[in-house]
């Protein structure tokens, strides 16, 4: 039996706050407490919760952008936080991230081509692609997210919010990852633009077989893209179930509140 795509085991992250008084121990905050879940390839997981519930901390740990206090993140059975830096860099090919703010996450001084090519250049693997191959890959990826080849030389400010999020998705897809961690990918967008980006994410799921770890405060969006849903409050996963079950028989009171808010 092959290992699942992503396994998160008893993941904890404790942050130390500034000392209030020199003779007292520094206060701590447990941002993430014993988070465990498994994502099988093709079964996207949505994480919902309010601000401060630890969902972005979880995303950062899964992306190996932060080190856990305790616990493991296994991608294809490989513990990301135990890998030497070089091996981690090579492993990053398989997991990429899309951020919330399409204005803040793209470097305003870089052309679209350079932005989208950057993950390829950063991979630093022995069998690196030639420049021509990279260019070809960037073009193909941009086309698949609905941008034109003539957009390659443009800068981020020349695009609308929805188009920028397409560029961010193209950047995440360019290494052909198996997992994309998307932190509130559509919450900065208008309703009609949001629908276009969600459709793109569905298409990419089908075209490239990407699995999402989708973070959102909106249950309807999670329900649209994900097979399973985890509900978080105060650093803990309080409910984890298939989307349909969360929808029809929510167990936790906070899940019910979220459901209530999503109904018209």
């Amino acid at each position: 039996m092959t290992a699942p795509l992503l396994q998160v085991r008893q993941l904890c992250r404790r942050y130390t706050l500034p000392r209030r008084k020199p003779w007292e121990p520094a206060p701590v905050v447990d941002a993430l407490i014993d988070a465990s879940f498994t994502i099988e390839a093709g079964r996207s997981l949505g994480i919902v919760g309010e601000s401060g519930s630890g969902k972005s901390t979880l995303a950062r740990l899964v992306m190996a952008l932060d080190t856990p206090t305790r616990g493991q993140v296994l991608l294809d059975g490989q513990d990301l936080h135990a890998l030497p830096p070089r091996a981690l860099r090579a492993a990053r090919r398989d997991f990429q991230m899309v951020f919330q703010d399409p204005y803040g996450s793209l470097d305003p001084r870089h052309t679209v081509e350079r932005i989208v090519a950057e993950p390829l250049a950063a991979l630093d693997t022995p069998n690196a692609m030639t420049a021509a191959d990279q260019r070809q890959r960037v073009r193909a990826t941009l086309e698949s997210v609905g941008l034109r080849p003539s957009d390659l030389g443009k800068y981020p400010h020349e695009f609308s919010g929805g188009q920028r999020q397409r560029i961010a998705i193209a950047r995440a897809l360019v290494t052909r990852p198996r997992l994309i961690v998307a932190d509130e990918p559509v919450s900065a967008l208008d309703v009609s633009v949001q629908a276009q980006v969600l459709n793109l994410m569905v298409d990419m799921q089908q075209q490239y077989g990407v699995t999402y770890l989708l973070i959102s405060h909106d249950l309807a969006i999670v329900n649209h893209l994900c097979s399973d849903v985890a509900v978080m409050t105060q650093g803990r996963i309080v409910e984890l179930a298939p989307a349909a079950q969360i929808f029809s028989a929510p167990q936790h009171p906070y899940t019910r509140l979220l459901l209530d808010a999503a109904m018209v």
């Binding site: 609308s160 009609s192 329900n223 097979s227 509140l257 018209v264």
Partner: protein, 333 residues
């Protein structure tokens, strides 16, 4: 006489591409105790409409038409007259409570400020009144917290404080521009319930501006849907949401992911596509002189670009949509 009567409100903005109309002939009325929602996507003119009512438009804006508050014309009033009005008869709750509050002043003083300014209360009387207001909006241990600064409160509490400020002088009209967009879902519900309760208590008129159709649906009796600076559809909230007539309103409603069990199970590739609205919102300067939705609408005819669409009444009384093509409004979605 209605509490608020807006007729042919127009706001022109000076941009680098010349003067463009950001709000075009918007008309509506609001009675005491009435709740009206203003919904639309970014750039549709909903916030500018609210700012025009407050006399807070940016310098580069030119406003025309008529805004009557209890019979008094507000357009053309000078700044001192507007100052006597703001925070007194009209008050506004903004999106970002941290920017709406002054970080250097204690919250007790900030809530007391309109009372001292408009009602001439002394410092002690204003402080007592401010305490009562903070208690009414649900700030725990208000007496002890009067002398704290905004950064010592959570986002939801800060929004409660700005609501207390807005209500200090018992305004006749309350404007709320995206009051809960910066807040968590659970807090959002509490803040809206608070606003609802206060509106009923004081028989205020409420104008709620939001991009969120669900929020408008739960909190208003009537709504206006704006697109490209115009009101494209208006009517009782339930009727507009259940029997949306304008192609834009329909597109907007269909584009939202629904919270319902999927027909197909969540097999790989099981998620369905959402219907989208073709094209993108044009820049203000590029809006056609006729219907603003012309070109993006599936029913577009050549005359849509040039002729201003009439207001077509719908089955439910007071529900109407602006469109040149009755067959587009009657089409089954």
């Amino acid at each position: 006489m209605p509490l608020l009567d807006v007729q042919n409100l127009r706001v022109d903005l000076r941009t680098h591409r010349g003067s463009t109309a950001a709000v075009r002939s918007v008309s509506f009325a609001l009675e005491h105790g009435d709740t009206l929602g203003l919904v639309g996507e970014s750039g549709c003119g909903k916030s500018l409409t609210a700012l025009a009512l407050m006399g807070l438009l940016p310098e580069a804006a030119q406003v025309s038409g008529s805004i009557r508050l209890q019979g008094q014309e507000l357009i053309g009033l000078d700044e001192p007259a507007l100052c006597r009005l703001r925070g007194n008869r009209i008050a506004m709750v903004f999106q970002e409570p941290m920017t709406a509050l002054n970080p250097l002043h204690r919250i007790g003083q900030q809530v007391a400020e309109p009372l001292r300014r408009h009602q001439g209360l002394g410092a002690a009387a204003a402080r007592t009144e401010a305490l009562a207001l903070l208690q009414r909006v649900g700030i725990p241990q208000a007496a002890q917290r009067l002398d704290q600064y905004p950064h010592q409160f959570s986002g939801g509490q800060r929004q409660r404080i700005t609501i207390a400020m807005a209500l200090a002088c018992k305004p006749a009209l309350l404007l709320a521009d995206e009051p809960t967009t910066a807040l968590d879902v659970t807090v959002q519900r509490q803040i809206l319930d608070l606003i609802q309760g206060l509106v009923q208590e004081h028989r205020m008129g409420l104008l709620l501006v939001s991009h969120d159709l669900g929020l408008i649906a739960r909190n208003t009796a009537r709504l206006l849907v704006m697109y490209g600076g115009s009101v494209v559809e208006s009517g009782p909230t339930a009727s507009v949401l259940q029997a949306a007539a304008h192609p834009y309103t329909r597109g907007l409603l269909a584009a939202r992911p629904r919270l319902q069990p999927h027909a197909a199970p969540h097999a790989p590739g099981g998620a369905q596509r959402l219907p989208t609205i073709a094209g993108t919102v044009p820049e203000l300067a590029d809006l056609p002189p006729g219907c603003p939705f012309a070109g993006r609408c599936g029913w577009t005819q050549p005359r849509c670009h040039t002729e201003v669409p009439p207001n077509v009444p719908q089955a439910t009384p007071a529900h109407s949509a602006r469109c040149l093509r009755p067959e587009a409004l009657e089409a089954q979605p």
